[in-house]
Assembly symmetry: C2
Homo-oligomer: 350 residues x 2
DNA sequence: CTGTTAGCGCCTTCAT
DNA sequence: ATGAAGGCGCTAACAG
C-alpha cells in the first residue's frame, strides 16, 4: 500500500494552492464551482484520502467519541447493543467514530483514565453508560470541561447531561393498565438488584399498588435477573401456589417469556388464567405467543440522542447546553393481558 | 479545562530543551538520570499529558485498532462481548485503543469504508469479526497492506491472518465422549444456520456418527437458534416422543439449559434418562444443575490473540507474519452426561 | 475567490 | 548526554 495522495499532490496536479484544495475538499469557505470540480476530479483520480492524523492535530479534534461502559457486565446485552447502534447511527455521515472504554478495567482508576483520554485529545466527547446503582463514576467528570453525556442514569447535576428512560413512568403505566383491567392480585419479577432500572421498576410497582389501595404481597415479588431461565423457574413455583396472582409484571421481556413458558407448562392459559406484562419491547415480543404487552423502551434512541447531543455541543462551540432528558417508553398493549378470568377481547389465530 | 501542559512547558520549567524532555518522558534514547527525574517531577507538577494528536501525526500511527463486526447481529452477544474483552485486555497497558465499526452499516459498502479508514490512518490495524457464512468481506481486505486479522472464520489465504476456534475438533470430542459412554441414539440441536460455527458443529455431529456406524436420524436434528427458549420448546417436543434419543448435543450452552429445563418439566432425569452436552462453557455452565458437560470455547482468547497479533506486527515492522490459528475448545466433562440408562459415576450434592 | 504565511505538538535526524 | 533544525499534512488567519 503506497502512501496515499496528499493535498499537496492535488495542488500540484491542478496547479492550485493547497488552501484552495483544502477548501474545495472540505466544502468550507469560498471556492469557485469550477475549481471545486477540478479538485474533486483530481482527488478521485489520485484516490485521495484525508490524513486524519494531520487533520486532527491541525484542528485540535480527535473526531472520536468515547463510549465508557462496564464492558464485562454489559457488552453481551441487548440493551447495550442497541445503545451502541443508536450512537453509531447518529455518527454515520459525520467524520466521527466511536471508541470503546471499559469502566471496570483496572486501568480505569475512578475515571482518572477518562479524564486523561480527554486531555490527551483522544476523544472529543464522552458517552458514559452507567446502569449500576453504585456507579459513582459519572460524578468524577462533573467538573471536566468536556462534552459528556450520561446514559441510563439520571444524574441531577447542572453541568452533566443525561439521557435516560422514564422507567418509573413506563412501569407505572403498565401497572395502571393491569389495575384498570381489574387485577387485584399482581406479582412482580424484579430485575438485577444492582441495576438502577430494575429498582425503579420495582418502585413503580409498589407505588401503583399503594396508590390504588391494593396490598403489596412480598411473597409475590421475586428476585429475577432479567433472564428467561431464572424467570421460568421462579414463575413455575409462583404459579403453582394455591394462592397465586392473576397478573404478573416482569421487569424485562425475556423474563416475561419465561413466565409465559411456565404458565404453559402448568396448563395455565395466557391471558385467560394469568396476565403477563413485560418491559422492553425487545425483538420477538410482538411475535411471541401470545404477543406481549410491554413498555417499548427506546434503547436505540438513548444512544442516538446522546451522540447527537455531543455532536451539537461540539459544533456549536462553547455554548454549555446541558440536557436532562427522560425518554418515554410507551405502553404497548398486546394480547398477553386481559381482565382476570376473562378471555381476551381480541384473539389472533396463529 | 485549560489547555494541558506541553513538552515545551516542561522544557521551560526545567530549563532543558524539548528534545531532552521528550526523551526523558518516553524513556527512549540517552538521558541522564538526574534530568530524567527533574523532568518527571515537572511533568507531574504540571499534570502533563501527551497530546496524542501530535504524537499520532508525528509517528504516523493512530494508536487505534479497529474492530469490524456486524453490530446488529452480534453486539448483544456473549460471544462478541468476550472477544472484545479479550482484545481490550491485550491492549491495556499499551497506548492502543479500540474503535468499533459496523460491517452492516450502509456506509460500509463492501469494505471500501474500512480500506479508507486505514488509508486515512484512523486505525493501524483491523480485527474483523466474521461469524456469518456469507461474510465475504474479509476477502475484500486480502490485498490491503495493513495488519489485519479475521476472528471466527478460517480464511485460507496467504496474506490474511485468522484466529478461530476449532469447532469441528471440539464438537467431535463431545460426540466421541457421548459415543464412548455408550449412546447410540443421539439428537442434535443446531445453531443459527447462517453462522459458520453452527454449521461446523453440525458437520462434526454427523461425521462422528458416521465414523462409528451410527445412524443419523434427521428427525433428531432440530433447528435451534442458539437461544434457551427455542431449545426448550424443541426439546419439549423431542423428548416427548415415544422414540427419543438417549443423549442430546446442543450446539450452545444456553440451548443445553433449555433442554435441561424441558427434561425436568417432562420428569426426565439428567443424566440418568437423558444425557445433555452443550458447547461454549459460558457463565453458569458449571453452576447449573446438573453441571453441564460442554466444550470450553476460549472466546476471550480469540480477542486476545487477535489483538496481540496485530500489536506484534505493528511493533516488529514490516515482517509480514501471518497466523492461521485454530484455538482448542477443550472438552469439559461434568455431570450432565452419563452412560444411557445409568446413574452418573459421581454425584455431587447441591 | 485565491494564495501566502505560519503553526498545531511531537518526533526523527544529525550535530555537538 | 544534549540541543538545533526541520518536517509530518493539514488548516486558521490574514492578505491580495
Amino acid at each position: 500500500m503506497k502512501p496515499p495522495a496528499t493535498i499537496m499532490n492535488i495542488a500540484r496536479a491542478t496547479g492550485l494552492s493547497r488552501m484552495t484544495v483544502s477548501r474545495a475538499l472540505s466544502n468550507k469557505g469560498y471556492c469557485s464551482e469550477h475549481n471545486r470540480k477540478r479538485v474533486g476530479a483530481a482527488a478521485k483520480k489520485l484516490d485521495y484520502q484525508v490524513n486524519m492524523l494531520a487533520r486532527q492535530l491541525s484542528s485540535n479534534r480527535a473526531y472520536q467519541l468515547g463510549v465508557i461502559a462496564p464492558i464485562q457486565g454489559l457488552l453481551g446485552t441487548f440493551y447495550f447493543g442497541q445503545i451502541l447502534l443508536g450512537a453509531h447511527g447518529a455518527l454515520s455521515g459525520t467524520d466521527y467514530h466511536l471508541s470503546l472504554f471499559d469502566s471496570q478495567s483496572e486501568h480505569f482508576n475512578e475515571g482518572r483514565k477518562c479524564i486523561n483520554l480527554c486531555r490527551q485529545r483522544r476523544v472529543d466527547g464522552l458517552i458514559v453508560v452507567a446502569p449500576f446503582l453504585n456507579d459513582r463514576f459519572p460524578m468524577t467528570f462533573a467538573n471536566l470541561d468536556m462534552p459528556l453525556v450520561v446514559v441510563g442514569s439520571s444524574i441531577d447535576h447542572k453541568t452533566v447531561s443525561y439521557v435516560d428512560v422514564d422507567n418509573v413512568g413506563a412501569a407505572t403505566a403498565i401497572m395502571e393498565h393491569l389495575v384498570q383491567l381489574g387485577h387485584k392480585k399482581i406479582g412482580f419479577l424484579a430485575g438485577v438488584r444492582v441495576v438502577r432500572d430494575a429498582s425503579e421498576r420495582e418502585l413503580a410497582f409498589r407505588k401503583t399498588l399503594a396508590t390504588h389501595g391494593l396490598p403489596v404481597v412480598e411473597d409475590w415479588i421475586l428476585p429475577g435477573d432479567y433472564e428467561v431461565r431464572k424467570a421460568f423457574h421462579l414463575a413455575l413455583e409462583l404459579l403453582s401456589r394455591r394462592d397465586r396472582p392473576t397478573a404478573i409484571f416482569a421487569a424485562s421481556d425475556p423474563m416475561a417469556f419465561g413466565v409465559i413458558d411456565a404458565a404453559r407448562v402448568l396448563n395455565l392459559r395466557v391471558p385467560e388464567d394469568v396476565s403477563i406484562a413485560g418491559f422492553d419491547d425487545t425483538a420477538g415480543s410482538a411475535e411471541c405467543s401470545p404477543p406481549l404487552t410491554t413498555a417499548a423502551q427506546p434503547m436505540k434512541q438513548l444512544g442516538l440522542v446522546a451522540a447527537n447531543h455531543l455532536l451539537d455541543r461540539l459544533n456549536q462551540g462553547s455554548a454549555h447546553t446541558i440536557i436532562h432528558q427522560k425518554l418515554e417508553a410507551p405502553l404497548v398493549i398486546r394480547e398477553s393481558t386481559a381482565p382476570p378470568g376473562l378471555r381476551p377481547l381480541q384473539r389472533r389465530s396463529r
